[in-house]
């Protein structure tokens, strides 16, 4: 056999397909589709196309439940990224993707190539990328390896985004030891496009030429596939660490956009996981066509590469392009200007086969439908985990170290709550000069050139919540994302998601996946934010321990007029502070799921149920907030989330304006210490703090009353920079804002800078 590879018979007899991760049934199915034994290369192609990563075999049935349509949706799931109309003949293109496993092995390159991959998904649609976000999960920073993973991932994300010149404008970071061995790195990219420039990944038109453009192909990431074992289904990803080249990608981005702009491109798709194999199969599948590709024509940077290696290589910064026949020269010219290669390697056929040739020899010949449409679905067993029925709903009894103030300071310096400046100051958040709200507020805001509009972006997810209540936790992630957009003055438009879970072959894990996806679906319906794309990352387990079920929601909102942009920092003394939503929700909800409980009772913090969440309450609070912003009533808005009420208030007070806060709570009965903790640090959802000028207080309260939303006056913004909380006449927390601020700002840096 060519290249010293095993023969089809040997593949069968020695069960080589097992080392590729194919099961017995899957191998039989391949034989049935082909009507013969697959050769070595074909077996490799099937194995990657039918892998969890490419085929979504465990998650496909779950993903079908997402609402994916809406008035503004121009492109739902199925293409490289989804597209949503924002008026003026413009549309926003976005998607989120995970790069968890490579990051665990080589954090800098793993995170960097994750960013590179998601950017390609956006410009492959013809869109100009305008913003990046990232959602990160690591183990706690008191561990040196966690610090290593964290610092190098952040450096890699910055290294790629900064170099390519797309601002990284937002994201989130959570630290919890459940992620020690499986850090999560999810990257989101957003692009802008004119309606008539939308490109798709279709290989149509018999005889149209197929081009490989961008970087040369090497053996990156193929050994993994060869040695992957069925026991460790993601071993293949793990050994597949590639080095990214953001400079190359910047050139590729400019060249591809210039090429798409000529109107001579039939279809274009980036080469991500499973490189040439998946890009060609998917492009042919979308068009119902076939392809012939000659691997000897692919530009390579290593010698003696086999068809198998060529098809499975995951070298970065490459795209597959189908051009109008006879127009190839346009591509050659544009790519040459940018110092890149563009090479025709084959053409479109009408026979429905993906045919890989090596000069005169046929190396593989597979029906496209067999690779894509007939990919197996694994209907996983689902079982409600026992712990869910044993959660407590009473108030935990916490030992308060000394004062409430000290509790607040301790919470503010928790690495999950603390300022993420250490992270986002390493990202260029301003390049392109359209960033109107930089990282640090509830959502990032980026202007739409040539209009009065702006777009707001956010990523949100709380694995602990989803662990404690998969359905409601999923819904709450969507609600929090929407709330953050609303606080920034934006109308939520649509969602992309990254579903990070443990091993789906465990029924309890599959239950978490299924239930949380349902919760997300329900919430997306309520908030009218369809899911237009996303990504699934499974098998995030090691040593038998699975990560928290961690769906991350990326959401995009629209601000019709930049005058409505709102931030969370206080603006002026004398203004009033109000809470939209239930001030004393904590008395019923307790501290379940809260960061406070994790801090004070790490052994039992998972014993308590999540706060209640009611869609109507959430919707009401958001509607009032957004309308108040649009009516010009507010000067600041900030939602109450991680850390609870006092953390949110303190965050608002930490501004350059050197202001203070004086608030007074007047409960209708005396509160015990545990009651107070629940009110101050409980994480009941559906609440937003707002700053209002005196003359607008009346208007705000009437607006809230009209919507039946509780709206309580808490106190005022003060000139002296002190943070004071009264319960009736008693001062229960008092601290210089400066003291709170240094605890909050310095926490991560003090771990990282040693």
């Amino acid at each position: 056999m060519a290249h010293g590879e095993p023969t089809p018979q040997q593949v069968q007899e020695q069960k080589i397909y097992r080392t590729f991760g194919l099961t017995e049934e899957e191998y039989e199915k391949i034989i049935a589709s082909l009507g013969r034994l697959p050769n070595y290369t074909e077996t490799g192609i099937f194995s990657v196309m039918w892998s969890e990563h490419c085929s979504y075999k465990s998650s496909r049935p779950v993903l079908r439940r997402f609402p994916t349509t809406g008035e503004r949706v121009l492109q739902g799931p199925g293409e490289n990224a989804g597209i949503v109309d924002i008026g003026d003949n413009l549309a926003v293109v976005f998607k989120m993707e995970s790069h968890n496993h490579p990051t665990a092995i080589e954090p800098y390159q793993g995170a960097a190539t994750g960013v590179g991959g998601i950017i390609r998904d956006i410009f492959t649609m013809g869109a100009r990328p305008i913003a990046l976000l990232n959602s990160l999960r690591f183990g706690e920073l008191n561990d040196a390896h966690n610090r290593y993973l964290f610092s190098h991932s952040v450096e890699g994300i910055g290294g790629y985004g900064n170099c390519i010149g797309i601002p990284t404008v937002g994201g989130e970071v959570v630290f919890d030891n459940r992620y020690t061995h499986n850090p999560l790195v999810n990257a989101m990219c957003v692009g802008l496009i004119a309606h008539d420039k939308i490109a798709t990944g279709t290989a149509s038109g018999t005889n149209n030429p197929v081009l490989v453009v961008g970087a040369k192909t090497g053996r990156d990431g193929i050994h993994g596939a060869t040695f992957a074992s069925t026991q460790d289904p993601h071993a293949k990803e793990r050994s597949a660490v590639q080095v990214g080249d953001p400079f190359m990608e910047k050139l590729l981005l400019e060249a591809c956009l210039e090429l798409i702009d000529t109107g001579k491109v039939i279809g274009i798709q980036d080469m991500g996981a499973a490189g040439l194999t998946s890009s060609s199969a998917e492009m042919a599948s979308r068009a119902g066509s076939g392809l012939v590709l000659d691997v000897t024509k692919v530009p390579v940077r290593e010698t003696a590469m086999t068809p198998y290696e060529m098809m499975l290589s995951e070298s970065q910064e490459r795209m597959l392009v189908v051009m109008e026949k006879g127009e190839e020269a346009i591509a050659y010219e544009i790519f040459e200007k940018w110092g890149l290669e563009a090479t025709a390697i084959g053409h479109v056929t009408d026979d429905g086969f993906l045919r890989i040739v090596e000069g005169e020899t046929v190396a593989a010949q597979i029906p496209v439908t067999a690779l894509v449409d007939e990919a197996p679905i694994a209907y996983r067993a689902s079982l409600r985990p026992r712990y869910l029925d044993e959660l407590r709903v009473d108030l935990p009894v916490c030992q308060v170290a000394s004062s409430m103030k000290d509790e607040l300071v301790a919470l503010l310096s928790r690495e999950t709550i603390a300022s993420k400046e250490w992270v986002y100051d390493q990202y260029d958040s301003m390049v392109r000069t359209e960033t109107f709200v930089r990282p640090g507020s509830d959502a990032a805001v980026v202007g739409v050139p040539g209009t009065k509009k702006a777009l707001a972006f956010v990523t949100d997810g709380n694995g602990r919540y989803v662990y404690l209540d998969p359905h409601q936790g999923g819904a709450m992630a969507v609600a929090e994302a929407a709330r953050n957009l609303v606080c920034s003055g934006a109308q939520p438009l649509a969602v992309t998601d990254c579903l990070n879970y443990g091993n789906p072959e465990k029924p309890e894990i599959f239950y978490q996946l299924e239930q949380s996806a349902d919760g997300i679906s329900r919430a997306c319906e309520v908030f009218a934010t369809p899911v237009i794309g996303g990504n699934v990352s499974l098998y995030n387990e090691s040593h038998g321990i699975d990560i928290y079920p961690t769906p991350v929601i990326g959401m995009v909102g629209l601000i019709e007029d930049v005058k409505d942009i709102m931030t969370s920092d206080l603006k002026a003394s004398g203004h009033a502070l109000y809470l939209l939503g239930d001030l004393f929700a904590g008395l019923d909800d307790g501290l379940g799921g809260s960061e406070y409980l994790l801090m004070r009772d790490p052994m039992h913090h998972l014993d308590y149920a999540l706060p209640t969440f009611v869609f109507d309450d959430e919707k009401g609070v958001q509607d009032v907030c957004l309308q108040a912003i649009q009516q010009g009533l507010l000067h600041a808005a900030h939602d109450v989330s991680d850390g609870g009420l006092l953390v949110a208030l303190a965050e608002m007070a930490m501004t350059e304006n050197k202001l203070g806060v004086q608030v007074r709570l007047s409960p209708d009965h005396a509160l015990s210490t545990n009651d107070l903790l629940a009110v101050f640090f409980g994480e009941s959802p559906s609440r937003i703090l707002v700053e209002v000028a005196k003359q607008n207080e009346q208007a705000l309260t009437s607006l809230a009353t009209m919507h039946g939303v509780p709206c309580v006056r808490l106190g005022e913004v003060t000139k002296d920079s002190t943070f004071t909380v009264y319960i009736d006449q008693d001062v229960v927390v008092q601290a210089p804002v400066q003291e709170l601020e240094s605890a909050w700002r310095g926490a991560i840096g003090s771990w990282m800078n040693g």
Partner: protein
């Protein structure tokens, strides 16, 4: 005894070296077309104490494996010499 280790770290041969590629291209543009290949790596000079040569060797290898390089993508070589302390 005091030792100096000179450590040369490069990306593994099969791993893409974008920096090396860019430098090669730049040299070609500067008319150094006789240059075939450039690879760019890291160079470290580490001065440290160790009781004997074997201990010194062991420490260099341990530091490289654990911290100074990532064996997933990098390889290294080193030279070791005793120096006046």
């Amino acid at each position: 005894m005091t030792w100096q280790a000179l450590i040369y770290v490069t990306l593994k041969g099969s791993v893409l070296d974008p920096q090396g590629t860019a430098v090669t291209k730049a040299l070609h543009a500067m008319q150094y077309t006789n240059v075939h290949d450039v690879r760019v790596g890291k160079y470290l000079e580490v001065v440290f104490d160790a009781d004997n040569e074997q201990a010194a060797n062991e420490q260099v290898q341990a530091m490289c494996a654990k911290f100074l390089t990532n064996p997933v993508i990098e390889t290294y070589t080193y030279r070791l010499a005793e120096v006046a302390s």
